[in-house]
């Protein structure tokens, strides 16, 4: 019997190795897999490349991972925030490398990895600093920039409900990067509010089919 539900957060992140590339879901607090982040900090993997829309807020989650000096590089669209102190400090000291990517290009690069697309031309950022050094091309009457997929070893995401085959649903705007990140990592780990029996999720409303998910861990509503 297939059973992707793992008994603990510790078990869920146990095999993450130093040097891994990790997609981390969430946009602000919505969809941030806080319980998995705490488990990753306890687990201690270092030298990580992290992909998230932001670069950590306050003292928890990604900010705490940065403060614990586990992150070598961040790929994100919006690192600078009022409460992104841990990122700011590590970045200014040169400990942390930053790759800044427009938000839609970030999403499409992740989606491309999951969909087996080798590269794509996007109009976003054409003629700007963020396209410097990149291949460009005029197609029809628009100019485009060539972008490459972002593949990852792990994705840590937060969903709402999950079953033992790894099917997931999300809640409101907490969906954000979850479904595309799930598709782009070799091993996707989802923390869920609730686990349900097979068949309880409406097959018309499953957002992430289980094929994209390796591990599901239940945290309840609090995490």
């Amino acid at each position: 019997m297939i059973n992707k539900i793992v008994p603990s957060l510790e078990a869920a992140v146990a095999d993450i190795r130093d040097g891994s590339t990790i997609l981390i879901g969430g946009f602000g607090g919505a969809g941030m897999p806080s319980a998995l982040m705490s488990a990753l900090i306890a687990q201690g993997a270092k030298d990580l490349t992290v992909v998230n829309n932001n670069a950590g807020n306050g003292d928890t989650g990604l900010a705490a991972l940065i403060a614990a000096k586990q992150v070598r590089k961040i790929i994100c669209s919006f690192p600078r925030q009022a409460d992104s102190g841990h990122f700011d400090k590590a970045y200014r000291s040169g400990e942390l490398e930053l790759e800044l990517v427009p938000q839609g290009t970030l999403a499409e690069r992740i989606r491309a990895a999951g969909a087996g697309i080798g590269a794509f031309f996007t109009p976003t950022a054409f003629g700007t600093q963020l396209a410097e050094g990149k291949e460009t091309r005029r197609i029809g009457d628009r100019d485009y920039v060539l972008e490459l997929p972002i593949h990852a070893d792990y994705a840590l995401i937060k969903a709402d409900r999950g079953d033992r085959w790894g099917n997931l649903t999300y809640r409101m705007t907490a969906r954000n990067f979850g479904p595309i990140m799930a598709s782009a990592a070799k091993c996707t780990i989802a923390q869920v509010r609730e686990t349900v029996e097979l068949g309880e999720l409406d097959p018309e409303s499953v957002v992430t089919p289980g094929i994209f998910v390796k591990r599901v861990v239940k945290t309840g509503a609090a995490a």
Binding site: F27, G29, F78, P102, G104, T128, Y170, M172
Partner: protein, 217 residues
């Protein structure tokens, strides 16, 4: 001269958003536009974090951490709204499905270039978010900004000195002094605030402006 305040500017933008329009309002000043859409006019607000059909701000205490806009403020969803993931959300933007986006800006050039994401200062931490996608993706890119910087320089420029967000993409600019269309042949003034004449607007703007009088001349 009566400079428009932020709410007057927002109301002026709202006036140009017709029923049925799909609109993305940028973080900050543009967000105010939502408050000035006339009652009964159905306008569909999109936010790039994956929601279409945003309603009014929630009542105090009724906020839900899972229902936020791109500015990470709590919002509500109208009946008829929907949620989707980030790649689908930016497909809407990049695929030119939004009728309007409204962005703040540091500078807008005569050619319609916009700079709004980065001061370019060597010690500044850059952050772009969805600004470049919106600038290149929306059918109509509207800019809302003060006409002058705090030190009195025009934010309408011949060429942007700040790093670009998007090239040749702005169609209309709303400032606290005027509304200006950007067309292939340059900037055309549509409205000027009461008590300011075109000659004075032209003087402080520092870039060539066209106006109905001058067009006739």
């Amino acid at each position: 001269m009566k400079k428009m305040d932020r709410n007057q500017m927002a109301a002026r933008v709202a006036q140009d958003i017709p029923e049925g329009a799909y609109v993305n309002l940028g973080i900050g000043l543009p967000t105010l536009v939502a408050n000035h859409i006339p009652q009964g006019r159905e306008v569909l607000l999109h936010s790039e974090n994956g929601v279409l059909g945003i309603g009014p701000a929630p009542a105090k205490g009724a906020e839900d951490d899972d229902l936020i806009n791109a500015g990470k403020q709590p919002v509500t969803l109208l009946a008829g709204g929907s949620y989707f993931h980030h790649a689908d959300s930016f497909a809407m933007i990049r695929g030119q499905h939004l009728d309007f986006c409204v962005l703040g800006a540091f500078q807008v050039s005569v050619a319609g270039d916009i700079a709004n994401w980065h001061t370019g200062a060597p010690d500044a931490i850059p952050a772009v978010g969805g600004a470049m996608d919106l600038a290149m993706g929306a059918k109509n890119v509207l800019v809302m900004m003060e006409h002058l910087t705090k030190s009195g320089e025009s934010k309408l420029v011949e060429y942007c000195t700040y790093p670009l967000t998007g090239a040749r993409c702005v169609s209309r600019v709303y400032t606290d002094l005027a509304v200006i269309d950007i067309k292939p042949d340059g900037m055309h003034v549509v409205d000027i605030v009461e008590g300011l004449d075109f000659a004075e607007l032209q003087r402080i703007s520092g870039v060539p402006l066209k106006y109905r009088e001058t067009a006739r001349a």
